[in-house]
């Protein structure tokens, strides 16, 4: 766990910076399936006292959530995360990102067992990834069998490794909130759940969003600041947005890229087209951000990028590795421009890259393709 970007602050209120900035910082409905109204609370009784608690379903669902540790631990790139067991063969759904790009990925099961995991597939549109770990003897509910479809206003629970608080066999963090909105409900691949609980925290993306019965509803999306309002938004991807892809990976087949030829996903969060840049093969942990090639007709070519350019800065952020570059470009909303500072023949030059909407599936990228 990395405490560097985890500022734990005491809650003293007051004006003096050197004083106050001390940073240490219901029962399961056994009724008909059609009944969607789930209790927000259940009453726990032990003879002496009774008062509301959360229904037991979300606590049981913790058995399907694993902690993930990988590369990172500097800046705002966390070395910890969370994922959901989606098959009894050890498939784990999580979010893609630099954490999975190191040489080692470790998962810790709810019982505290550690195992090495490997990255099996990534999905660029929703920035999801599937890992596989040699774990067995874990009963996994197939989340795709009967997907839970919540309604706006339903009480939901988030299970996540927020701030990496939980270690070893300690249960992950449990949060409660309501489904605030369902965005783009008519476009299955773009549907987004908006939540009123704060899940845009480090260690939360990749966590499970469950209903009061503990049934999986979605996966917590990557942390994202809405460029229009400048605020961090709390969202999750419904099962329907990734089910087909995930099932294909679990079944060991080559999945089709999610971004198909339908409408351009111009407002898809966190996805930027950088296909025009052909990077050096990303074989070492800190591969230098050299451009190996530029695709003809691509935004990269239009911006004037050339092979052998070394990317020094993206929008004033120092770039130290290919994964860093990918991460920074992923923060740029589609149809936005970003200034790149390049080192070319001993001189620094500035180029503006216009991130266009995705028009077709990545051609030569390994994304969306299972790794051996």
């Amino acid at each position: 766990m990395n405490p560097v970007c985890l500022l734990l602050a005491l809650l003293l209120s007051g004006p003096s910076p050197d004083k106050d900035s001390t940073a240490l910082a219901g029962p399961l409905p056994q009724t008909k399936e059609s009944k969607q109204e789930l209790p927000m609370t259940t009453t726990v009784m032990d003879g002496r006292a009774s008062w509301p608690s959360s229904p037991p379903g979300p606590r049981r669902a913790m058995e399907q959530v694993v902690k993930i540790y990988g590369a990172g631990g500097f800046g705002r790139i966390e070395a910890y995360g969370v994922g959901i067991l989606i098959s009894s063969k050890g498939h784990i759904l999580t979010v893609s990102g630099p954490m999975l790009e190191g040489s080692e990925i470790t998962i810790v099961t709810p019982s505290g067992k550690r195992a090495a995991a490997r990255l099996l597939a990534t999905e660029p549109v929703h920035q999801l990834a599937i890992l596989k770990a040699p774990i067995d003897n874990i009963a996994v509910n197939d989340p795709f069998e009967r997907p839970s479809l919540p309604k706006v206003g339903d009480v939901l629970f988030a299970l996540s490794n927020a701030y990496g608080i939980a270690a070893g066999d300690e249960p992950v963090s449990l949060q409660r909130g309501v489904l605030s909105a369902i965005l783009e409900p008519n476009q299955p691949s773009k549907t987004t759940y908006r939540l009123d609980m704060i899940v845009s925290n480090p260690g939360s993306p990749g966590g499970a969003l469950v209903d009061a019965t503990g049934a999986l509803v979605g996966v917590i999306a990557k942390e994202r600041k809405d460029p229009a309002i400048g605020a961090w938004v709390n969202s999750a991807w419904p099962i329907s947005t990734f089910a087909a892809w995930a099932q294909t990976v679990v079944n060991g087949k080559t999945p089709l890229p999610v971004a198909s030829d339908d409408a351009p996903p111009s407002d898809r969060p966190g996805v930027v087209d950088w296909r025009g840049i052909v990077p050096l093969p990303d074989v070492v942990d800190k591969a230098p951000p050299f451009i190996d090639g530029v695709e003809p007709g691509s935004p990269a070519e239009r911006a004037g990028l050339r092979p052998n350019d070394l990317v020094m800065y993206v929008a004033e952020h120092r770039i130290s590795s290919l994964s860093d570059l990918r991460h920074r470009l992923a923060d740029v909303p589609p149809s936005h421009s970003v200034t790149l500072v390049l080192l070319r023949d001993d001189s620094l030059i500035e180029r503006t890259l216009l991130s266009s909407p995705l028009e077709r599936a990545p051609a030569q990228s390994d994304k969306g393709v299972p790794r051996p």
């Binding site: 602050a9 809650l11 209120s13 900035s21 001390t22 940073a23 240490l24 008062w51 608690s53």
Partner: protein
């Protein structure tokens, strides 16, 4: 149609809300109304800094955080939800546990909230935080936020050697700057924790749904220490633990003469239980260690080569050992302050008279006045049946197994006779055979001196706070012994340090812990089965324990107290 009519139609057409939902809402409202009077807002004299607190006694004792109370100082201002603004004085401080106890002045007549849960807190329990976020409540009415318990037994690293959150509660109820020191309630309206910390990252100093509260069980362990005016210390065992490759928690480093070392724990031993809790991770060990005051006896169990060992150790002080003054907590500038402007430095205000009368400064104490008063009360209770008049001589006849023992204790000399053999003991604490009956004579004489001379014979007589009746984690065949915290006196004379714990109706000495010199292994006596001997209460059984020695069981036959 007018919008009003539309609205009426919509309302009329809406299905009725479920009865249990409405009942739940009503019970929540009632619970918040019930506990709100106890939630207070804290400020300094000029209102430039502050936080929250909760009243836990009718007399007006209130809990808050050290990091709220310390910047305010000895004299605090408290706003009550009924609109009253009263003075308060610091009573006790726990810098490691981030807890402070204050007394509202004048004493008496305050609304209180019950401290401690009647049912263990469970993951997912609904909770309500009351407090003064962003110092909003200019009318002193607290802000209520609702959430659930997101995690239990969380560990949050200290800042330097202070402000360590161990075994704490994690909640998604909104907790913001200014909520510090305020109560976290369960739905029964019981204080289950004191909110004091939040996780922060990219949004600045606002709630991100991850707040931490000091748990009520931890507070209960320290409460008597705080009530009697101490600046309390947390504990260390003089050893470091780490997780090995197979996931076991093993001793990684150990200091010689530390409590663990004296108990026989060695490098590489696996710690399997501490204070009655199984240990499966380093965090769990730190969690358990962090909730007990220094000086408490706890049971530690360890394993070496498949053999299980167990011993009682006395926790040593975390900070007193270092012998260093309190270091200020780390100050990070990257956490932005709540307010941008900083008020002009004003001269420290004079302490109000009502506070000055309730305050007494003394090293090691937050407020010695509370210690003095509590000590005098405890002494009066203990000595209420003690005979008046000239110094008394104790003649005690007892047996250890078949061995008859006679103790003759007077101001002139101490004599122990074991199976006909006489041992003279110097009452001034010459070297003694610490396992012999002369040590027992010297230990019991500390009690006699208290009885014949009150406290004047001792160079030090303070209220030591609360100590457990049995080592924490101790068990009998019928199960674990309950944690009973006894008021205790700290006595010193001629290098002999005594902790004397009082039970019964405040008139029985239950435990005597005596250390003859700083380097010696203390002896511990548990005195039970009290009977009336003349006007006095005397024990019939004495259990004698010393680390590394077999336990001795003594039976008392006569206990004469005569001039």
């Amino acid at each position: 149609m007018s919008p009003t009519l539309w609205w009426m139609l919509i309302v009329a057409a809406a299905p009725p809300l479920p009865a249990d939902l409405l009942a739940d809402e009503q019970s929540r409202i009632q619970m918040i109304e019930r506990v709100t009077p106890s939630a207070i807002a804290l400020f300094d004299a000029v209102g430039s800094t502050g936080g929250s607190g909760v009243i836990i006694s009718e007399a007006g004792l209130a809990l808050t955080n050290v990091h709220v109370a310390d910047p305010i100082g000895v004299a605090l201002r408290c706003g009550l939800p009924d609109g009253r603004l009263v003075d308060a004085v610091i009573v006790g401080r726990d810098p490691v546990g981030d807890l402070a106890l204050i007394q509202l002045l004048p004493k008496g007549g305050y609304p209180k909230a019950p401290l401690g849960e009647s049912r263990p807190v469970a993951l997912g329990d609904e909770v309500v935080a009351l407090g003064n976020p962003f110092l909003l409540s200019t009318d002193f009415k607290p802000t209520a936020t609702l959430g659930i318990i997101s995690g239990l037994r969380r560990y949050q690293y200290p800042s330097g050697d202070v402000l360590e959150y161990t075994d704490c509660l994690q909640t998604d109820a909104a907790v913001n700057p200014g909520n510090s020191g305020g109560p976290l309630f369960n739905r029964a309206g019981e204080v289950i924790g004191i909110n004091g910390r939040i996780s922060l990252e990219k949004r600045g100093r606002v709630s991100v749904g991850v707040g931490y509260a000091i748990s009520a069980p931890q507070i209960q362990n320290f409460l008597l220490h705080l009530k009697v005016g101490w600046t309390v210390d947390h504990a260390t065992v003089g050893a470091r633990v780490a997780t090995d490759d197979s996931g076991r928690v093993v001793v990684d480093d150990i200091l010689s003469q530390s409590p663990m070392d004296q108990a026989g724990v060695r490098l590489g031993d696996e710690i399997i239980a501490f204070a009655g809790r199984p240990i499966g991770s380093v965090n769990q060990f730190k969690n358990v260690l962090g909730i007990y005051p220094s000086g408490w006896p706890v049971v530690v169990a360890w394993r070496r080569d498949d053999e299980r060992f167990q011993a009682v150790i006395r926790l040593s002080g975390l900070r007193s050992n270092a012998g260093q003054p309190e270091a200020p907590p780390d100050r990070r500038q990257d956490s932005p302050p709540l307010k941008k402007s900083r008020p002009p430095k004003t001269k420290p205000r004079p302490i109000p008279q009502i506070v000055a009368r309730a305050y007494e400064k003394k090293p090691g104490f937050a407020n010695y006045r509370f210690n003095r008063e509590a000590r005098d009360q405890l002494l009066a209770s203990l000595l209420k049946s003690a005979p008046q008049g000239p110094p008394r001589r104790w003649r005690i006849k007892l047996r250890e197994g078949d061995k008859p023992v006679e103790l003759d204790l007077s101001n002139e000399k101490l004599v122990a006779t074991v199976a006909g053999q006489t041992i003279d003991v110097s009452p001034s604490g010459d070297p003694v055979n610490e396992s012999g009956m002369d040590a027992l004579a010297l230990a019991l004489d500390q009690w006699r001196r208290l009885e014949v001379a009150d406290r004047s014979w001792f160079s030090r007589c303070d209220h030591a706070g609360g100590y457990p009746e049995h080592p924490v984690g101790a068990a009998t065949e019928s199960g674990p012994l309950p944690l009973v915290i006894l008021p205790t006196l700290l006595l010193e004379r001629a290098g002999i340090e005594t902790l004397l714990s009082v039970a019964g109706q405040g008139d029985e000495v239950r435990r005597l812990y005596v250390r003859f010199s700083p380097d010696s292994t203390p002896l511990e006596l548990t005195l039970t089965d009290y009977v009336n001997a003349g006007a006095e209460r005397r024990p019939r059984r004495i259990r004698w324990e010393r680390v590394g020695q077999p336990v001795k069981e003594l039976t008392v036959f006569t206990w004469e107290s005569a001039p």
